[in-house]
């Protein structure tokens, strides 16, 4: 797929998703403020009841900064789960048009996925400015650069993982339960529900080996400057390896699955 076509697909999808104004503001308010209020009250109670100054290396203000960053960057990792459309396309037969187009399906879907994140990107920008004004915390250029690359890799990794799950639709009549399972695992083991530093030390090697930390914990800590250059570089390399593994897995599932595609109805 040519870069020109990639950006054209992205732009088109961004336009389509930006046309829903009510949805934009509902997502912004519920998705961000609602989550943040929940985290605020929950952690306030935990700090008060435990009587501790810090949990997992985070004091209460630090924990809130972590949550603000997780909520903002999380939107740019998972977006609006546009890749969920893959199973729908298999079930409804709209996959057919992509099979007719010259070019590959995966880059096309990734361009659409990135385009579908345009409203999230605007929301993140908006809230990031507000958060910076309130807290006075603005990451330096190095942190922003490291965070951006971590975010990009996390986004691709999340897309590839979801893509593999969605392709199961070639065999199963419903992949919803797999999606729910994925969401539960990635929010728990990825650092969305609680920072990974809160987990027992014995779990650390497992959490580092699995791909989920690249969705939240890794880009957030990279942006907040909570990791050194070596840890960041190693993390990027591991995430890239996961991307290659999932890409290969996706290719294999696609090849096997498209043999079963009926285009709806026989």
């Amino acid at each position: 797929m040519s870069p020109r076509l990639f950006f054209r697909v992205m732009g088109l999808e961004a336009r389509a998703h930006m046309s829903y104004r009510a949805d934009f503001w509902t997502q912004a308010v519920v998705g961000f403020l609602g989550h943040f209020a929940l985290a605020w009250f929950l952690w306030k109670a935990m700090f008060r009841e435990s009587g501790r100054e810090a949990i997992g290396g985070y004091d209460f203000p630090g924990m809130m900064v972590y949550y603000v960053t997780v909520l903002l960057l999380g939107k740019l990792v998972a977006g609006r789960e546009y890749e969920a459309g893959v199973s729908g396309e298999i079930y409804q037969g709209t996959l057919t048009r992509y099979l007719l187009f010259p070019g590959r399906y995966l880059p096309f879907k990734y361009a659409q996925h990135l385009g579908s994140m345009a409203p999230s990107a605007v929301q993140v920008l908006l809230f990031a400015v507000v958060a910076a004004l309130f807290t006075g915390l603005v990451p330096g250029p190095l942190e922003i650069a490291r965070g951006a690359l971590a975010l990009l890799v996390g986004n691709l990794l999340h897309f590839l993982l979801s893509y593999c799950i969605q392709l199961v639709a070639f065999w199963a009549d419903n992949v919803w339960s797999l999606e729910v399972g994925k969401r539960f695992i990635m929010t728990l083991l990825g650092g969305f529900t609680v920072p990974l530093a809160v987990f027992p030390a014995g779990m650390k090697p497992w959490l580092e080996a699995l791909p989920f930390r690249f969705f939240y914990d890794f880009p957030v800590r990279a942006t907040l400057g909570r990791m050194g250059a070596a840890e960041w570089a190693l993390g990027i390399a591991v995430a890239a390896l996961w991307c290659v593994a999932l890409w290969l897995l996706g290719r294999w599932i696609w090849w096997r699955g498209q043999l079963r595609y009926t285009g709806v109805g026989i």
Binding site: R8, A16, L100
Partner: protein
């Protein structure tokens, strides 16, 4: 251009019995049944031909088209479209092929069709000048220029179908598969689409396969038809020959002048030698009243029967018609055994 040899497709589907207990049982064990959608179909289609693919629901028409468009893989057999195996999905083939499947949208519903066309321009790498020229031509022939900038979801069914046609033909395909292109459209929209397809064929001479349940589509657009029955090709030949070969009769309709009394001529009531079919072997009266006599006669007896009617009755007007093509095809579909053209 399009060639198939013993092309077959068998689907395996899960059988689901009705009832709650059957659903519970289905959680543990499911029975699979094989459905032979297409059976050893062989044919060849040349450049500029529009071939009508006819058959009852579930006869395998759409499955055959999907295989030729490279969307699904066959179970057995071979096919070549423009020299390529379609299900290998070589980009060189996909740049010269189009599939229009009724109202299944190729366009983006939330955006105006013009935006979708721009994307297709990039996908098919259509040069700017050629794109503008083709879009302008297609939009003007289909009389849809004003709607290009309206969100696709806000267009009427007919307008959407026209946009789908433009989307499919923008890149100037050499092979076009039209699956029910007029389904659900009103009469004027159907006519517009048919006229457009004919005009497009005249100008670009692609090979086309058309599937439709509307016999008018087939009659207007196709000189050659292929009839599929239970997945097997039972007829492949000219549309005109179908009537000649498989309709063993013609229908003669005579409009009669009323006699002085206003009643039907007495002999009309008779099936005996003195009646209109007297001396015509195998003829039968289909309809009769004071002013109309309709008879069904064997193809070879048409002239004799017409002459006898003219001789016996005060005929104001006389028409000799082939039986309805739809009826003939229905008959072929009901019959058993080979009827290859």
């Amino acid at each position: 251009m399009i060639e198939t040899t013993r092309l077959s497709k068998t689907f395996h589907v899960h059988k689901k019995a009705p009832g709650l207990m059957a659903s519970v049982r289905g959680l543990f064990r499911r029975e699979r049944i094989a459905k032979h959608a297409v059976r050893e179909v062989s044919f060849r289609i040349e450049e500029g031909e529009i071939v009508g693919l006819v058959g009852a629901n579930g006869a395998g028409k759409t499955t055959l088209v999907k295989m030729l468009a490279g969307i699904i893989h066959p179970t057995a057999g071979e096919a070549r479209v423009l020299g390529h195996v379609p299900w290998e999905r070589d980009d060189r083939l996909r740049r010269r092929l189009a599939l229009i499947m009724g109202q299944k949208a190729q366009l983006w519903w939330d955006l105006p069709a013009a935006d979708g066309f721009l994307l297709l321009k990039e996908i098919y790498r259509i040069p700017e000048e050629e794109y503008r020229k083709t879009l302008s031509y297609l939009a003007s022939v289909l009389e849809i220029g004003k709607e290009l900038h309206v969100q696709v979801r806000r267009l009427s069914l007919g307008e959407r179908m026209k946009m789908e046609l433009i989307a499919a033909l923008l890149h100037g395909p050499r092979v076009v598969f039209l699956d029910e292109p007029t389904i659900g459209l009103d009469l004027s929209a159907q006519r517009a689409i048919r006229d457009f397809i004919l005009a497009y064929r005249e100008e670009h001479a692609p090979a086309m396969i058309l599937t439709s349940h509307y016999m008018e589509d087939i009659q207007r657009l196709c000189k050659r038809i292929m009839i599929l029955r239970d997945g097997a090709l039972v007829y492949d030949g000219s549309l005109a020959q179908v009537a000649e070969r498989y309709a063993d009769h013609k229908v003669i309709t005579a409009h009669l002048r009323r006699d002085a009394g206003g009643g039907p001529p007495p002999a009309l009531r008779s099936m005996g030698p003195e009646g209109p079919m007297g001396g015509v072997a195998g003829g039968e009266i289909v309809e009769q009243d004071a002013t109309v006599l309709k008879v069904r006669v064997p193809r070879g007896e048409t002239a004799a029967a017409a002459a006898r009617i003219l001789q016996l009755y005060p005929v104001a007007d006389l028409a000799i018609e082939e039986p309805d093509i739809g009826t003939i095809i229905e008959r072929i579909l009901r019959e058993k055994g080979e009827v290859m053209g």
